[in-house]
Point group: C2
DNA sequence: CACAATTCAATTGTGCACAACTAAGTAGTA
DNA sequence: TACTACTTAGTTGTGCACAATTGAATTGTG
């Protein structure tokens, strides 16, 4: 009976395929919801995350924002430029280390951050998701990410995760 | 004692924040791994998903590919053009309905699809993830996506999910 | 001190996701 | 049949993710 020799292993691999696709799909669906919720605030979700990080931590160098959000300068530089153009953040080259650029919220940015948090809170609350299940999901995602990071080299010193608000 | 009136509700909202960010992070980490695995095959992960859908279902109209992968023509048109330029797919306007464009794998595309599946299988297997946990995770992601779709309007008739290989 | 290696932000180029719109074909209906 | 709806791909424009490179500043070491 050589019919099912690698069936279990095959299923496993199929499953991992499913998970990667399901992950992307869920992420995009969530992003779509949050995009809608933030439209009125005139910012994108990645921009919101930056405002949130600055709200949480105060003035931060670009490098640190990148660690918190797992983004590099190729993504952050133009994003921060847009936020600065919108008058939400201010960038100043550090006096201690001229290579570094410190980013801080303007008054307008602080207000926008608060308003955006409120909008996303209302949006998330309306989903009526099960908190216990979300907690389990969050744990699984964390472990999965850690495992993936271990394989690929992964992220650099994320320190305190961003969204501890 | 008005100290903890909305604490539970607050925690819930924080958690949902966590989950959206964790989702994006895990998705990007997985994408990064698969990108590395596919580098040798000269295709990206979204391109791989198209090849996979065509391998599974045979010739498909662009519309159907979009339903399977939840992508619109703004994403698919240029992506398919790149695949066609690479000689992996062929596009032909349908005779029955001149609006529709049918996409099918070339011989080269079929080979590339097979090779890519092998590469991703090996990559996924090396992670050593727990199948039971993956199954649970997949179910949670599916339910979450369904819930999000219900709120935002969601996806259009995905039919058979793509990654049923 | 001089010089090599490293760090940090920015830039360039590619590809994906998505919104808005266009062009062309089809279907339904007065 | 003429005319309106709708459908299907494609195009344009914006923003994000990421690889690779550049330039300037700092650090480490001889």
């Amino acid at each position: 009976m050589p019919t099912q020799p690698t069936a279990t292993a095959e299923d496993l691999l199929r499953l991992e395929h499913h998970v990667c696709f399901a992950l992307q799909t869920a992420s995009r669906a969530f992003g779509s919801l949050y995009r809608d919720a933030l439209r009125e605030q005139q910012i994108t979700y990645p921009q919101y995350l930056v405002l949130l990080a600055l709200t949480e931590h105060g003035e931060l160098p670009v490098k640190r924002i990148g660690e918190l959000l797992r983004l590099d300068s190729g993504t952050l530089s133009p994003l921060l430029k847009r936020l600065e153009t919108a008058g939400l953040v201010q960038r100043t080259r550090s006096a201690q280390d001229e290579r570094s650029v410190d980013v801080k919220l303007t008054a307008k940015g602080a207000t926008r951050s608060t308003d955006s948090q409120r909008a996303l809170r209302a949006c998330a609350a309306s989903l009526g998701l099960d908190p216990a299940e979300l907690q389990v999901l969050q744990g699984m995602l964390q472990r999965l990410t850690d495992r993936l990071d271990a394989v690929t080299g992964g992220a650099v010193d994320p320190g305190t995760p961003v969204a501890d608000n």
